[in-house]
C-alpha cells in the first residue's frame, strides 16, 4: 500500500470500528435486559431486607424504574464518557474495576498469543520442510493431541505435574503474596506465575497454527513463483524463508486476528482454573452475582478488544500484502 493513502484508510476503518462497537453496546444492553432476574431484588436480598418500599427505592436509585429506551440512552451516554456504571456489589465503579483487571488479562493473553504463534509457526514450518518424514508425523500427532484436549484439563494436568509433583511452579495467582521482592525479583515472580496459564491458554492455538502453517506452506511450495525462484538459482533455505514462508503467513495473520479476539473470551476458563486476577474471572464472578453493570462493562471491554484486534489485523494485512487495495 502506498503510504500517502494510509491516513485516509485508517480514518475510514476507525469510523467503521466505532459504528461496530456502538452496535455491540446496544445489543449487549438488550441481551442483558432480556435475561430473567431483577438486580434490585438481588441486592435487596443480599442486604437482608426485601420489603416493597426498599425495592422501589433501589429501582429508582439505579434508574431501573425508567422506560427501557431511557435506560439505554443513559447507558450509551455513560459509555461515551467512559462511565460504565457502578457495581453495588463490589462498591466500585465498573471502569475502575476493569482498569484494575485489564493489565493482568492482557499480560496473560498476550503471552499466550505470542507463544502460540512462535511455537506453532515454527512447528508448522519444520513439518512442511520435512513433509512425509518421521519429524513431520511427530509434529502432526503432537498438534492433534493439543487440539483435541480440553483447555481446563490441560491446565489441571500441568498444575498436577509442575506445581504438585515437581513443585517447580506456583499453581495459582499472579504473584506471591506477603513477600518483599526487588523490582527484578517481582518480574521473575510474575513470570513464574504466568508460565502455566499462558501455556494452557496457548497450547490449543499452537496446534492450530502448526496445522495452518504446514498446510499453507505446502500449498505455496507448489506455486509457480517458487519454481521461478529455484530456476534462478536461489538456495533452498532462502526459498523457504523469502518465498514460501512469507506467502504462507497471510492466512496465519488472518487467523491470528480472529484468535487475538477470542483469547480474551477463552481466558475466562483459564483465569478461573489458575485464579488469575483478570477480566475473565471478573466476568465469571459478575455472572454468578448477577452484577449487570460489571457484565455489561466486561462485554464492552472485550468487544472493543475484538474490534481493535480486527483493525490491527487489517492494517497489518495491508502492510504485508501489497495487493490489498486501499479503497
Amino acid at each position: 500500500m502506498e503510504l500517502s493513502r494510509f491516513p485516509a484508510y485508517l480514518a475510514g476503518r476507525l469510523v467503521k470500528a466505532a459504528v461496530v462497537v456502538l452496535a455491540i453496546v446496544v445489543c449487549n444492553f438488550f441481551l442483558i435486559h432480556a435475561a430473567p432476574g431483577d438486580p434490585a431484588s438481588i441486592i435487596a436480598g443480599q442486604s437482608g431486607s426485601a420489603d416493597a418500599r426498599f425495592l422501589e427505592q433501589l429501582r429508582a436509585q439505579f434508574g431501573l424504574d425508567q422506560p427501557l429506551y431511557m435506560q439505554l440512552w443513559l447507558y450509551l451516554k455513560g459509555v461515551l464518557t467512559l462511565d460504565l456504571g457502578f457495581s453495588h456489589r463490589q462498591q466500585a465503579s465498573v471502569a475502575a474495576l476493569l482498569w484494575d483487571r485489564l493489565p493482568a488479562t492482557l499480560l496473560l493473553t498476550g503471552a499466550a498469543f505470542l507463544f502460540a504463534i512462535a511455537i506453532g509457526v515454527t512447528m508448522g514450518a519444520l513439518a512442511a520442510r520435512r513433509v512425509g518424514t518421521w519429524s513431520d508425523s511427530v509434529i502432526t500427532v503432537l498438534a492433534l493431541t493439543f487440539y483435541a484436549t480440553p483447555l481446563f484439563w490441560v491446565g489441571l494436568m500441568l498444575v498436577l505435574l509442575f506445581s504438585v509433583t515437581l513443585e517447580w511452579l506456583p499453581s495459582f495467582g499472579m504473584m506471591s503474596v506477603g513477600v518483599e521482592l526487588s523490582r527484578i525479583g517481582r518480574v521473575l515472580d510474575i513470570g513464574k506465575h504466568l508460565l502455566l496459564p499462558a501455556l494452557t491458554l496457548g497450547l490449543f492455538y499452537v496446534a492450530v497454527y502448526a496445522r495452518l502453517t504446514r498446510a499453507t506452506m505446502l500449498e505455496v511450495a507448489d506455486q509457480d513463483f517458487v519454481k521461478t525462484a529455484r530456476a534462478k538459482g536461489v538456495p533452498e533455505g532462502r526459498i523457504l524463508r523469502r518465498h514460501v514462508l512469507r506467502n504462507a503467513m497471510l492466512p496465519v495473520i488472518t487467523f491470528a486476528g480472529i484468535q487475538a479476539g477470542q483469547l480474551i473470551g477463552g481466558s475466562i476458563l483459564v483465569e478461573t482454573v489458575f485464579a488469575w486476577p483478570g477480566i475473565g474471572r471478573l466476568a465469571f464472578e459478575a455472572l454468578l452475582a448477577r452484577d449487570y453493570q460489571v457484565l455489561m462493562g466486561v462485554f464492552f471491554c472485550t468487544s472493543v478488544m475484538v474490534v481493535l484486534f480486527n483493525l490491527i489485523t487489517d492494517l497489518l494485512y495491508a502492510v504485508v500484502d501489497p495487493r490489498v487495495e486501499v479503497s
Binding site: 509457480d224 519454481k227 525462484a229 530456476a231 534462478k232 523469502r242 518465498h243 500484502d321 495487493r323 479503497s327
Partner: protein, 537 residues
Amino acid sequence: MTRLLTVENLSVALPRGADRPHAVEEVSLHLDAGEILCVVGESGSGKSITANTVMGLLPKGLPVTSGRITFEGEDLLGLSAEALRSRRGRRMAMVFQEPMTALNPLMKVGDQIAEALSVHGKGAEARARVPELLAAVNLPDPAAIARMHPFRLSGGQRQRVMIAMALALEPALLIADEPTTALDVTTQAQILRMMREIQQRRGMGVMFITHDFGVVAEIADRVAVMQRGRIVEQGTAREVLDAPQHPYTRALISAVPHGRTLDRAAARPAPVLQMKGVTKTYQRGGWFGARAVVRAVHDADFTLNKGETLGLVGESGSGKSTLARCVVRLVEPEQGEILFHGNDLRPLSRQGWLPYRKRIQMVFQDPYASLNPRRKVGDAITEGPITHGVGRDEARQRALELLRLVKLEPSAMERYPHEFSGGQRQRIGLARALAMQPELLIADEPVSALDVSVQAQVLDLLAEIRQRLGLTMLFITHDLRVAAQICDRIAVMQRGAIVELGPTAEVFGAPKHPYTRSLLDSIPGRGWTPPELAETA
C-alpha cells in the same frame, strides 16, 4: 557454432500407474549457441519434462533412468545439487508459461530481479543493473516498474519482467516453456520479436517450447516434434514446417487452423438476434474509497441472421465474453435491447425468461470446469430437457442420439466427466447444449483449451452439426485463424466496442480498422501457409 547443449538418450520415468512407463523416452537433441530450437508437441508429450530435466527442476517423483545431458562441456546429471543450483540462473535460465503466477506476489519486481543477481554474488551490481534490464525488455519507466509489485503489471509486462530476470546474468542457455501461450496475440507478437532480437544480440541458445506451429514458424531455426515422450521428427524449421515426414507431424500441421476463409453464400437477412445499444459497466469502490468505473460493453450492436455464424473476436478484456453472457443473462446489462426474434429479452422477469432458456444455449471454454464432476454424463445431458418437461425416456433417447452425433460411445451415458479427455468433455458440453434443441448456440472459446489436433476435430464437428441442424451460432474466440475457419461474419471487439463488422473474407482480406490490422499482423507465423498435406505420408 559452438555446441551448447546435448541431450543423449534421455529417459525419465513416470510414477507407477501412469498411462505410460516413461515421461520422456530415448530423447536426443542438441542446441548450438545463437540458435533457437523449438520443441513442439501437444500436452503430455513430455516437452516440459525434457526442459525441466535440463534445468534440474524435475519433481522428486520423476527420476531420470538413463541418458546424458552435456551443457558447456559438463555432464549436468552428474553434478551435485549445489553445483547445479549455482549454474541455474547464471549459465542457464528459464521463463515459464504463466506470467500471472510466476512472480512472487509479495515482492517488488525489482527486488526479484535483484535476488537473481545477489544469489550469484552480484548483489552489488543490482542497483544499476535492474533498471538496465527492465529497459532491455522494452518496459517503459524502468525505475518506477522496479518498485512495483507484480499485481500492478499486465500479463505481457510480467512476462517481460520474467525475461529480464532470466537475462540478468547473461546466461548461455535460455529455456522458454510456452512463454507466450497465456498472452494476447498482439502481446505475443511483441514478446516473440523481442526474444528473437535479444537472442541474436547476445548469441544465446534458446530452447523454446510450444504447441503452436504459428509460433514455430515465427521464431524457430530448428524444430523437434515430440509425441508421447519421444522425438518423432527433428530438422530445420523449413524442412519440418513445409515438408513434414512423420505422420504425427503431418497430422499436427494439417490440423493447424489454416486461416483460409470459407466461401459461403451470405445468409438471408432473417434476424434471430439483434443487439441494440447494450451497455454493461462494472463499478468498484464506494463508501470511503474512490469509484472506478469500467465500461465492459458499449457500442456493440450486431444482428445475427438465421443459420449464420457470427464470430466475436478480440483480446482478453475486450468485452466479447461479457457481451455473449448478456444474451443469456449470465450478466445483466443496464441498458439496451436484446431482441430475440423481435422480443426484447432484457426487461423480462426470471419467469418470463424461462421459455427462452431452452432456445438459447451456451458452450463454455473450460471443458474441465463446466461439467459437474459428481454427475454422470447422461444425467448432465438429460437434466435440461427433463426440467423443461420432456419425459425421462425420451430425454435419454435423445441423449443417446446426441452422443452419436458428437461421436462418443453410448456407454458414455453412465460414466463421469473425469473419465474423459478435454476434447471429449467439450463434445459432452456440446451435446448437453444441443439436448435443449436450441435455435441459437453461443460458443464461448470452445476450442481454446484444447490441443491443436483435438481443436480441429471439435471445429469440424461444430461445422457439421451446424450444417445438419441449421443452427445459428455466436462464436467467441481470440484466435483469428479459428474464427476465419468457422465464421460467416466477424465482429472485432476492442475495449468493449465493436470496431469492425463484416463478412469474414472482407475483414481478413481488407481490414478497415487499424486495430483489426494490428491483430492480423500479430498472428504468429503469418508468413507461413501450412502446406496442403495428403491424409497419409
